[in-house]
Amino acid sequence: MPLRVKVRNAESGATVEMELEGENTIDDIIEGAAGYWEKDAGAYVLRRGKRLLRGQQTVAEAGILNNDELELIPDPEGG
């Protein structure tokens, strides 16, 4: 049964609604959303509330539920 989630881009406020399968990974979500916004997927992390969603976890393992709101957070590097 596919799930629907909303992903918010914290640095633009834009949102996408996504349909996911239980076996999709967090990396798939980040790549899907970042790709849509033409961003570098490797420069972001995804959060659900206070929890970091780790890249290789599946949607089922991460406990993502239908209608969840996730947020893409920039992960900058300075030098």
Partner: protein, 220 residues
Amino acid sequence: MKQPRILGAEEIRIEERQPPPSERTKPHKWLSAKDLEEFKRQEKEGYELYISKVAEEKMRNHSLHFAEMQKEVMGLLLGWIYKNGGKEYSIVKDVVTTDLESSSVHVRFDRNAFEKLFVSLEEVGFNYLVVGWYHSHPGYGCFMSSTDVYTQRSLFKSSWHTAIVIDPVNKEIKAFYLDGRAIKTRNFAIYWDEYENPYYGTRVKKRELRSDPDRVASSQ
């Protein structure tokens, strides 16, 4: 296995709003004489960036705290964007950070400390956009290194995104943004909300001392 499918998308609408008035703005105290001149020159037309006193103090204190250890610090700028007369400007209301992996020439968030950052984001108390980032160059001056430029191009491409660079050793601060492929400096103002104004309420009425002896006695 099917890849995630995008069903729909939404962008934010940028509303018109007056920026903080000039009586509640001031230049940053670490601006160079040349930047201060630029600040004054731009005062009438307004700025593209306003940083709250609270956010400015947090960034400055963060960079100063690690200055002696010669370590860079970093965090995210939280605020919103608005338009005034069709011209966009951003407000930085607060900043958030977490534990860092840092040296004198490099900084990023500690891979195991994102949840501490997310707790701060959950507790920030207002609807935010990450309008940019700040980091320090302890003793090296304020400029955008190649790593900084890469970050700006990958994450903060919009014209209203800002990179604040602070040198706590030389007491310097600059704001940068991306204009196409070029990095440019941006003038900015520090603002405070009315309730934060130390001179809020201009008169102080002398308090009358109570002269009811019973009241004094009963309270002893």
